[in-house]
Symmetry: C2
Subunit: 326 residues, 2 copies
Amino acid sequence: MISSTRNLGRSCQRNSPFEGAVFVLTKCSACGSTFPIGDYDHLGEHYYKFAEESDMAHVMWLNRYITRKKTENAKALSKILSNYFDLGSGGLQKWIRLRFIERFYGSHPHPFVVALQHPTRATLLGYVLEHQHFLRQWVRSCSYIMAKTENTDVTMYELDNINTEFGGYSPERLSHYELLLRMGESLGIYRQKILSTEPLPDTKTSLKTWDELAKNEHWVETMTAMHGLELIADRTLRGDGAVMSYFDPVILNPKDREVTDATKDFLREGYEADVGHSKEALDLVEKYAKELNKTEDVQATFLKSINVFHRYLMARLQRAEQLESA
Amino acid sequence: MISSTRNLGRSCQRNSPFEGAVFVLTKCSACGSTFPIGDYDHLGEHYYKFAEESDMAHVMWLNRYITRKKTENAKALSKILSNYFDLGSGGLQKWIRLRFIERFYGSHPHPFVVALQHPTRATLLGYVLEHQHFLRQWVRSCSYIMAKTENTDVTMYELDNINTEFGGYSPERLSHYELLLRMGESLGIYRQKILSTEPLPDTKTSLKTWDELAKNEHWVETMTAMHGLELIADRTLRGDGAVMSYFDPVILNPKDREVTDATKDFLREGYEADVGHSKEALDLVEKYAKELNKTEDVQATFLKSINVFHRYLMARLQRAEQLESA
């Protein structure tokens, strides 16, 4: 641990402890300092200085992503930061996948994912009640991408994605949103009840962060922020080291009665669609981030988004716990 | 004529003479003055004062929409303004239709519409070369509506509209964008040549205005600004007094050889789709403008948008003239 988090009295307090310290490569949101892209020497000095002063936002970020141990000096920290953001031979997409795995599928898999392996009714209802709001924000975020891009391949990708997630193509190809609602109904909750249930505060805060990100940042960052999250259901992550998949695929087995058929229909959609979704989106991200010289912004925004996602997934669990104790 | 336009030295000069003076009911963009909704007494005084001073933006707006005659006093002008914005018994949608007819299908129909009755090859190519850019901006503008609204009926409407205009549903239901490009090809221009042709300056300026409007204004205003324009191909306007339709429908006749089949396919789509499109959108506009207490903003923004549209349609003709003289 680089330093304690006692000294919270600086300018770094935000609504969320996750916000504020992630745009580190071009701008440190905690204090507004900016750095030329790739200037890890100054970035390291900057972080080291704030860590020495026990500044909360900087310390939390370092603890989460870089190291929990105090580094010898600024130079050593610069080196670690530089290594962390280095794309290596796999390029941006591989970097994104590995960071995602570390955060959700590493030695401490996300508790919601653990719960979803063989989900209880409450876990699934927690999913339904929070995720309906997530999907509506999803449409808004992806619409901002379409509103801002001038690239037809991006427009067409997002349009297809919104159709799949929210609009639906036909009675045979229902939207994920509709499948989610049907899963909820199959678990014994009326649609009207689902639709009229407000999101939990953590869900609300998360959606607000994504909304502001989509509104204010470059579309290629929004694209990474949103479609990077589809990796959650990408079963090919196992090949890159994920310790488990989103759920135990055995529950999709037609003979297995662990979950309802509508639950299988919903989970199967993600299981089949999200591999392609995230791959295609991240191909576009990689292409345009390079073309627009925004690779490092994209890395920083991606880290911000997965922090928000971590919190949002916890809200699903929190809802499940509320239902169980009711 | 209320006054001359000699005195141009004030703060009202903008990129476009049309911009700046149309948000009159809640805010006069020419000088920043604001008025309580419905306060026509002060609005009349305001306009009268600026007209007396020969201020360009105010005078142009009055000449175009209210009267070319000098009014006796501010009170008389207030009365005329109040009448102009009064919805009457037909409500907002009828008001929009009548204002649209006045501007494009009244005693001086728009020159592009006149040319399109029995179009030359150059007229149609002017349409293709400018309208490809319009449709791409269309997607961006409608995406802003989806990005900002929380109302599912609006989201679903816009999603369907973007699919129809740009995405396409299937090989049997091609997008209007694709049909437009095929019309261009049928007239002897390669697709690549079409796609690589930059818009004329007037088209570019118009698209920029719509883009900024969609970015900055409330979604219900953007919705009116964009879908109000679909009235151009709404043949039911004839019933409300339009002197002609968008084109002479005889040219769609399968036996008529005046235009290519691909031209018929493109024109037929608008002829059939835009009646429903504008009606459904304006139903939503009417509902939400009332609910959000934004009816007068919507009226002002609509007037701004049809001014921009007037100019954009002239750019199509300008392109046709360039092609004819080349």
